[in-house]
Symmetry: C2
Subunit: 359 residues, 2 copies
C-alpha cells in the first residue's frame, strides 16, 4: 500500500513516448532468457516457434488492437474491425511460412457499446475464420474503462525445416514481395478525409468514389497471404528470410536486414504499385513510392531467396523481384528511377506519441 | 461510413450487463464450429486443446485483465499485478492437467503511466516466469485510451490421454480440492477496507496486521498448482474431471457438473479452510464457508476421481476429499455441519455490472 501511494503520487518518470514501441519491447524483455529446449524462437520475430514433438512446431503470435489507435469505429464498421483484427494476426503466422489454424480472441469493451456491437464484431471475426479455415478456440470478454480493445493470438503448425525467419537473408539473395503496396495507406487517407468532413457536418454523406474502392478494401478488409504459403508448400519453396509488410516496406525491410546482418538495395521502378493507386496517391498529393515504403498495413509478404531460385520465382504468380540483398557495409538503399541511391530509414508507426502531438 | 454513423448515434441497444459474461461468450461464439481435425477442445474449457503430432497436444489459454476490474494499482504494486497476471494464466493450463511452458504478454497502457511502471510490471512477470520455468516468447505493447489492460496467453504441451477436462466426472466419483480456500477473497476485503480509509485520508498509514499476511499473500501473489500437476504426472494419476478455482468453489463446481452432466454433494465440514482464515472471516463479519464457496481467486485445483483411487488420494499431500459426484437428478448440494442440504448456486464474478450499481 505504501509502495502504491508512492507510485500514485509519482508525477515524474520517463514518458512512454520517449522510448517508443520497439525500444520499449527491447527494454522490457531484455532480461528474459528462454530456458526451455522447446523454445526455438522467442520474442523478436513475427511469431514464437515452439517445438512440440520431433520436428513439428507450433507458431504463436499475438497482437493487441486499441480503439482510436489501430481502428476507428467512426469509419470502420464493427464487422470490418473484427475481420481485420483476425487477418492481421493470421498474417503474422504466414510471415513464418506457416498456415494459421487456430485463434483466441479477447475483448475488453466499455459500457458505451451494446451487445449488438459485439455481435457485429464477432460476425466479422466469424467471416474471417470461415474465409481462412480458422477455428476460434478460446478467449475472454471483459468490460473496459474506455473503448474497445481486442487481443488476438494466432496459432499455426509447421515442420521445423520449413519455418522461415526474419534472419536468414544472405548477400546475393533476391529481394521479393507479393502483391502490391501502398493501397491500404491511401484507403486510410480517404477515410480520414471523410471523417474530418463528417465531424464538421454530421449530415454530410461521405464521398467514397468507386475509383478508390480497391484502396478502401485493402484498408478495411485486408488479406493474409495464406494462398502464397500454400503455393510455397506445394512448390517446396522456402524463403531464406520472411516478414509481412505491416509497418511499410521500409520498416519491414530494415527488420530483415538487421536480423540477417545484411544490407539491401531496392529498385524504385520494381516496387509493385497498381496504376489506380498511383493515380489516387497523386489525387491526395502523395508520392506513390512513399505510400509503399512508409504506409504499411498491406500485409503482403516480403522475402528473400537465393539467386538460383530465380527460375522458380519468375513463374510464381503475384510476386515481384524488387531488389537484392548486399553485404551489411553497403547499407540499405532505394535506387530511384533517376539513378540516385537514397538511404532507407524506418518510418513505421509510432504507437506512443507525445501528448503534445495529440489532437 | 453510413453504417458507422448509425452505430455512433445508436443510443438504444442491449446493455452488456443484461447478458453477463458467460451468457455473452455463449451468445457470441455459438455460431462458431470447429472444423480442423486438430481441434480436440475449442471454447468451453480452461484451455483449448490442439493436436500437433501423434498424441502430442498443445494447450492454449488466454485471459484479459483490466485495471479497476481485475486489479487495482491503489493497493497492488505493479510487480504484484504482473506476477499475478502470469499465475492466473498458468493456472488455466494446470486446470487441463498440463504444465505451462510458454506465455505471451500484451499490454495496453495509457499516458498516465511511465516507463518505470512498465518496468515494475515486467519485473513481476519476470519473477513469475523464473518461479515456474516459463519462457516469455512474444507480445505487444501499445498505448491505451485509459488505464492498463493486460492480455496473456499461456501454452502447455501434454499427451492426449493425460489431458483432463471439465467434463468426465461420473456419479460415485470422489470430489477433491487442493490446498485451502477462501483466503484470497479475505485478502481482497482487507485491501478494500484499507483503500477506503486511504481515500478518505491519504496521510493515514495502512494497517495490514501480521495475522492477515497469509490472506494478503494469497490475494496479491497467488500460486498456480504446477507442483500438483508434476506430482500427478509422477504418480500416473489423471483426474476424471478438473478445473481451477478462479470464481469460487460454487461456480467452478457448477462448471464441472454442467459439463459432466452430473450432480454433486459437498460436505461443509470437509471444505479446507485454514484456522487463521476462519478467524479473519469472523473479524470481517463474513461466514468462512461463504468466502470459500463464492470468494474465488484461490487458484486451487478442483477435481474428481473414481472411488478406487481413494488409497492413492489419501496419501497425496495437500488434497482434501470434500464430497462426491451424484446423478444429475439428485442436484448439487452443500451438506451443512447441521445436517441440512442446501442447493449450491453460482455466485461467481459478474464482470459486466449495471451502470447503476457502479460507484
Amino acid at each position: 500500500m505504501k509502495e502504491k501511494k508512492h507510485e500514485q503520487s509519482n508525477s515524474t518518470g520517463t514518458p512512454l513516448h520517449k522510448v517508443g514501441e520497439f525500444g520499449l519491447i527491447e527494454l522490457l524483455t531484455s532480461d528474459f532468457v528462454t530456458l526451455s529446449p522447446h523454445t526455438i524462437q522467442g520474442v523478436g520475430d513475427d511469431a514464437a516457434v515452439i517445438q512440440v514433438k520431433d520436428d513439428h512446431c507450433v507458431l504463436l503470435s499475438t497482437d493487441m488492437l486499441v480503439e482510436a489507435l489501430h481502428f476507428d469505429p467512426i469509419y470502420s464498421s464493427f464487422e470490418h474491425i473484427g475481420y481485420k483484427a483476425v487477418v492481421v494476426n493470421l498474417s503474422d503466422i504466414c510471415a513464418m511460412n506457416a498456415l494459421p489454424r487456430h485463434i483466441t480472441v479477447s475483448i475488453a469493451i466499455s459500457n458505451k457499446y451494446f451487445v449488438e456491437h459485439l455481435q457485429a464484431l464477432y460476425k466479422g471475426i466469424h467471416l474471417a475464420c470461415k474465409e481462412y479455415d480458422i477455428d476460434l478456440v478460446g478467449g475472454d470478454t471483459v468490460s473496459s474503462l474506455r473503448g474497445l480493445t481486442i487481443s488476438i493470438s494466432a496459432l499455426g503448425i509447421q515442420q521445423y525445416p520449413r519455418i522461415a525467419y526474419r534472419h536468414g537473408a544472405k548477400p546475393g539473395d533476391l529481394l521479393c514481395v507479393t502483391g502490391n503496396l501502398g493501397a491500404a495507406y491511401l484507403g486510410l487517407l480517404l477515410l480520414e478525409r471523410e471523417k474530418q468532413l463528417f465531424l464538421k457536418n454530421p449530415d454530410l454523406q461521405p464521398v467514397l468514389p468507386e475509383k478508390y474502392s480497391y484502396a478502401l478494401q485493402r484498408q478495411l478488409k485486408p488479406d493474409a497471404r495464406t494462398d502464397i504459403i500454400q503455393l510455397w508448400q506445394h512448390q517446396d519453396f522456402i524463403p531464406s528470410a520472411l516478414i509481412d509488410v505491416s509497418d511499410g516496406l521500409a520498416s519491414d525491410l530494415l527488420h530483415i536486414c538487421h536480423r540477417s546482418n545484411v544490407g539491401a538495395i531496392v529498385e524504385e521502378s520494381k516496387i509493385p504499385i497498381r496504376e489506380d493507386i498511383r493515380l489516387m496517391a497523386l489525387d491526395f498529393n502523395h508520392d506513390p513510392i512513399t505510400c509503399a515504403m512508409n504506409g504499411g498495413e498491406d500485409y503482403e509478404l516480403l522475402f528473400t531467396a537465393p539467386e538460383d531460385k530465380l527460375p522458380l520465382l519468375r513463374y510464381m504468380p503475384d510476386i515481384s523481384i524488387i531488389g537484392e540483398i548486399v553485404p551489411k557495409n553497403e547499407g540499405i538503399h532505394l535506387l530511384t528511377t533517376g539513378g540516385k541511391k537514397v538511404p532507407i530509414t524506418a518510418q513505421g508507426w509510432q504507437h506512443f506519441s507525445s501528448p503534445k502531438e495529440k489532437k
